[in-house]
Symmetry: C2
Subunit: 246 residues, 2 copies
């Protein structure tokens, strides 16, 4: 892990950009973190739109989490931002765009081609980032995972025992194989669903929530469309992580 | 309103039993309430099992609300506790029991016969109780309604403008007419659903949530069966009322 820049934000949060091999990432540390008082870590997931484009939303979440005493970190997804594309994913993205523009249902084949390779490539990278992050002074654990591509969250929850709790956004475009994999998740889950999300299949989201094997799982459904998650829903997610990571 | 007994509980909450005509009720006032600092009121709904049987759960909720600065009150439902039965309701209850013991689906006719007269009789009584309660020193407003027979909550939310927010338990046995009436509810709603409630039709509960006309409505689904609402779900309901009544 190589730190490429560091700045102190006005609320005292230290923001460090880093690279992990070829992968860019960002780490936010609360002012309160120190070697003698290490803080828990929340990995911030995001959709595959590129870190630069997602930065304002990620930084807002990071500062919110820092105020609650959490370090947060994120890395670029494979095929997003400045990272190299691969042909199959580009084809799947084009197929998805075509289907959506034509108002046609998105086939299982498109969803699988779009999501499964992304999960396979991304998850080991997040695990490598976790290795590096947990070796830093001031970061203790336990670790939570929050938001982003829900299939990445599902796989991480299944394969990465250092992740103790996950807050997920229920979305569509979840491969059938990932719904099956969700049955193997056992960590506490806090799932947000935007009830009237125009880009979301509500029934699919409810089926996925039902599939999760976790004994403690909570679904919070709110109004307000895809980007209209109300402030109090974000606060509830904070309290979920505070309950499980502190 | 005639106060029949008064006691101070160990946390300073004043519990008063009262009668309103023939209807028994209970009022809990936080120690902090006074004429110069009146507190908001939450009406505590409950299933038609009789106030005496429901007392432990109601008193626990009341003390919890008092700690948050709310007065709470409840009255006996028509046909419950020591209040007179009526034949049609008794027949409907017997039909319901028979259907459930036989593992048969509960027909719309049974649900209507069981719930609609209860709503018609109960709601004016809760409104009369509200008249009396809001005239007491130390109780200001605004007013919330919490829990109990969800159809009573729906009707109260539609017809009683003094109720500014409602926390409801999604249950089955909701007449079709009440689902239609739910479309006319516009106040903020906080709806709890026990996801794996053995006595609950989950799909019916989700359809009812969808039907509510409120712009602000939140569904919190949790594991744990009918009586297993987790502590943090109760805390979230408290925060909902604090947001809307303070």
């Amino acid at each position: 892990m190589h730190v490429t820049s560091e700045q102190r934000l006005d609320d005292g949060v230290i923001e460090r950009e880093f690279t992990l091999g070829e992968i860019p990432g960002i780490l936010w540390m609360p002012a309160s973190a120190s070697v003698s008082a290490p803080v828990p870590l929340i990995l911030l997931g995001h959709p595959p739109l590129g870190l630069r484009r997602m930065y304002p939303r990620l930084a807002a979440r990071a500062r919110h989490c820092a105020a609650e005493g959490f370090a947060t970190a994120t890395i670029e997804l494979p095929g997003s931002g400045d990272r190299p594309r691969w042909d199959a994913a580009e084809r799947a993205r084009a197929d998805l765009r075509r289907a959506m523009e034509a108002g046609e249902p998105v086939s299982d084949e498109i969803v699988d081609a779009l999501v499964l390779p992304l999960v396979d490539k991304a998850v080991p990278e997040w695990q490598a980032a976790l290795d590096a992050l947990l070796s830093l002074p001031g970061i203790g654990g336990p670790v939570g995972y929050s938001g982003g591509v829900i299939s990445v969250g599902i796989r991480l929850a299944v394969v990465e025992p250092r992740i103790k709790a996950a807050g997920l956004f229920a979305g569509s475009l979840v491969p059938r194989a990932m719904v099956e994999e969700a049955r193997r998740v056992t960590i506490p889950l806090h799932v947000l669903l935007q009830w009237d999300d125009e880009g979301n299949d509500r029934q699919a989201a409810l089926e996925l929530f039902d599939a999760f094997g976790s004994k403690e799982k909570t679904l919070h459904a709110n109004m307000g469309g895809h980007t209209g998650v109300p402030q109090y829903a974000g606060d509830a997610a904070d309290r979920f992580f505070t309950r499980h990571l502190k």
